[in-house]
């Protein structure tokens, strides 16, 4: 057991330096292009570039789409609701990180 040498899995860190095309985004989340365009329309995603064919999405937006799908599916939210929840969650996350730092400094 466990003697077999495991190959290192091919991995991609989804940070701000990696960008994806519309097509790569579609592949990554299994959605048709129109659905992603609707999310761009709603301001949920903010690709760089003049037209859908030349859009570049920050790789972190892939996770945003996946979270949006989970929220839509599980909570019955519409796109505007999902966009609001995701914005608020970003803010909550930033505030929690801030609180952790400040709490330590008060010790």
């Amino acid at each position: 057991m466990g003697e077999r040498e495991l190959k290192i899995a091919v991995s991609l860190v989804l940070d701000e330096h990696v960008t994806l095309s519309l097509r790569e985004m579609c592949r990554g989340c299994g959605l048709p292009g129109e659905d992603l365009m609707a999310m761009v329309e709603e301001g949920l995603l903010q690709p760089q570039g003049p037209s859908p064919a030349r859009w570049r999405f920050a790789a972190s937006e892939l996770e945003r789409v996946r979270a949006a799908l989970r929220l839509q599916r599980d909570l019955g939210l519409n796109l505007a609701g999902v966009a609001l929840v995701l914005d608020l969650l970003d803010e909550v996350r930033a505030l929690r990180a801030r609180v952790r730092v400040l709490e330590q400094l008060l010790d």
Partner: protein, 315 residues
């Protein structure tokens, strides 16, 4: 397997209307949704709540389940479905909607899974790409700084040929690059769920969490350290050794430093482009007056240096 009381899980009476079931489910789903909730057992509770709703929202499944409940089953009791328990129901073959059935308990599987009439219509989607899976990985701050290779074993639900769901360990080795930050995701292509009908596997998404560190707190790529100083180091200025993730560095504390002052060690946070900084927050500690000699020195200081720290309070 354990008998599950789906009404209890939702906190509802058995007479609850379909509307009440739906409302309660919606409320609990918001409360325990893993993307939203901070509760430590959110994911577990969310699955439970979903499973309960999946069983009760469909009047056919609910009626079959109610019939079981009116027997002598209690929550937590050892359970095997009695033969023919689901006989006499007309099924519209709805299968599962929405929720991911692979996440449900053995109990649910035994009642409503692939082997039961309720499970129809769920399989046979030819050429369907495998599902994406996700997992969280906790790493030490030192590993985030230096990078690391980790071997992970994840429990993955897989549906076998007969439609049963079983947990399989999935072991893989992952390279964590230096400078990863908390909450960042790593995508492992083709490490997710198996595809159907020869379609490719889904991807696995790993979310990085940091283990709590005894010295440092992290915000993005910036690292915060609370640094204790002696009163004379703060008053007169000093060069003191300070730990950083990359090793000890000398920090010049200016004369007249106060508690709460923040000094920046540029580029000493987590690596990246740009690298984060380390912020050193000063904390002045006062030595205890433990001997008469100490007490005499403090008294001398009090006389020689009139000082009212509460001046701005007007007292």
């Amino acid at each position: 397997m354990e008998f599950k009381d789906y009404y209890k899980i939702l906190g509802l009476a058995r007479e609850a209307t379909q509307d009440e079931i739906k409302r309660t489910y919606r409320r609990l789903a918001r409360k325990y949704h893993p993307d939203v909730s901070k509760e430590s057992d959110a994911e577990e509770r969310f699955k439970e709540v979903n499973e309960a709703y999946e069983a009760l929202k469909d009047p056919e499944k609910r009626a079959a389940y109610d019939r079981l409940l009116s027997g002598e089953w209690q929550a937590g009791q050892e359970f095997t479905p009695p033969p023919g328990w689901d006989a006499g129901f007309e099924f519209s073959g709805g299968g599962f909607t929405g929720a991911d059935a692979g996440q449900f308990s053995d109990f649910f599987e035994a009642l409503f899974g692939g082997g039961s009439p309720f499970g129809r219509g769920r399989h046979g989607g030819a050429g369907l790409r495998g599902e994406d899976h996700q997992a969280r990985v906790q790493i030490g701050l030192e590993d985030a700084y230096h990078g690391a290779t980790r071997t992970l074993t994840l429990q993955v639900p897989e549906v076998d040929a007969s439609g049963r769901v079983a947990m399989h360990p999935h072991t893989l080795k992952v390279k964590i690059p230096p400078g990863i930050t908390e909450g960042q995701k790593i995508r492992l292509s083709g490490q997710g769920g198996a595809g159907r009908g020869g379609a490719p596997r889904g991807d696995l998404y790993l979310e990085i969490l940091f283990e709590p560190h005894p010295l440092y707190r992290v915000e993005g790529r910036d690292v915060y350290l609370s640094l204790p100083l002696a009163p004379w180091e703060a008053a007169l200025g000093a060069t003191v050794a300070v730990p950083t993730l990359g090793g000890t560095v000398d920090l010049k504390v200016p004369a007249g430093a106060q508690s709460g002052h923040k000094l920046r060690l540029k580029g000493r946070g987590l690596p990246g482009s740009p690298a984060g900084d380390q912020y050193v927050v000063l904390q002045i500690r006062t030595p205890k007056a433990e001997t008469s000699e100490h007490r005499r020195l403090y008294e001398q200081l009090a006389r020689a240096m009139p000082f009212n720290p509460r001046e701005r309070m007007g007292v």
